[in-house]
Every structure is written in structure tokens, then in C-alpha cells.
Symmetry: C2
Subunit: 93 residues, 2 copies
């Protein structure tokens, strides 16, 4: 089983009101120095057999994102077994 | 400037109708073998100075996620300069 992770984010020039709301909330909660917050979507796809890169690109650029206003990034998660239990830097219990 | 990325995902036992809708759409678009799709949120926070880990944990577990139904993972993105232009595995133009 292959785990593909696709991150979709509004393009930098597109206004992100959700991110701005989070930015304001972080400041009110006492976090200083927040320059910018952007909020995007993340898709975690478990698939077997693994599709080739061009298929992933096609699906990420059509179904999963709107290329007019959004950028996407994707990666294959080699650490899929431990997802939900741990992460490289930090994870919730 | 430090870029902190927080991924928020519904816990595995929580129904994810958006993920299920994407799963169905992927199958209709011809991608075979999709076992599961989960859809979550991603926050990209640019902040200076960098907060300590306990502060990030606190904010991720209160403001950015609902710990009753969601898990979070966070990391510091060392590659912040190139975000939006490239990615380790793949990126949109």
C-alpha cells in the first residue's frame, strides 16, 4: 500500500480570509511575531498499486485542486505505517 | 523567519465524508486500487521569533484542531524559502 499526500494551498496572490482569521487568533492567544498564516487542504490517499507520477500530477491538478487559484504539492509518504501514531517532529497523542 | 506547518486530520475512527467523496471521484476518474482517502487541513505559519515546541503543541491542540475528533502533526519547514516554487517530490507550476 502506497500513501500519497497532496497539499493544496491558495496561490500567494489569492486572499486567504481563513488564514487571516487564524493569524488574528494566534496574536490574541499571545503568540508574537506572526507574519502570515495560510490555510490549505491536505489529502491522504492510500492506493495499491501506486500510480505513476504523471497520473498523480493529473489528478492533483484537476480533481484535488483548482489550478486557477490553488497550488499543489505532493509526496509519497514512506512512513505510512506510523501515520496517526507518531511523526518526525511532533504529533498529537 | 520560521515556517511552521501544522497538519490537522480527522481521527481514524471519525467518518470523513469529504474523503469518501474524493475516493469515489478518483475511482470514477480511472484510478484503480484506492483503499482510503482522508481530507484534512494544513496551516502554514510564518513567525519570527520561532516559538518553542510546547507553545506550538498548545496552539495546535487548542486553536488549530479539535482534540475530540482531530489529530494534528506539526513540523518546522527548513525549506521555507522555496515553498511555492518547488517541493521535494512534486509541485504545481
Amino acid at each position: 500500500m502506497t500513501r500519497i499526500i497532496v497539499d493544496v494551498m491558495l496561490k500567494p496572490e489569492i486572499l486567504d480570509p481563513q488564514g487571516q482569521a487564524v493569524k488574528g487568533a494566534l496574536a490574541r492567544l499571545g503568540l508574537d511575531g506572526v507574519a502570515d498564516v495560510r490555510q490549505g487542504k491536505q489529502f491522504v490517499i492510500d492506493v495499491d498499486p501506486a500510480p505513476d507520477a504523471s497520473t498523480i500530477e493529473h489528478l492533483a491538478g484537476t480533481l484535488l485542486s483548482n489550478p486557477v487559484i490553488e497550488d499543489y504539492r505532493w509526496r509519497v509518504d514512506d512512513d505510512a505505517e506510523s501515520v496517526g501514531a507518531a511523526a518526525s517532529t511532533g504529533a498529537s497523542a
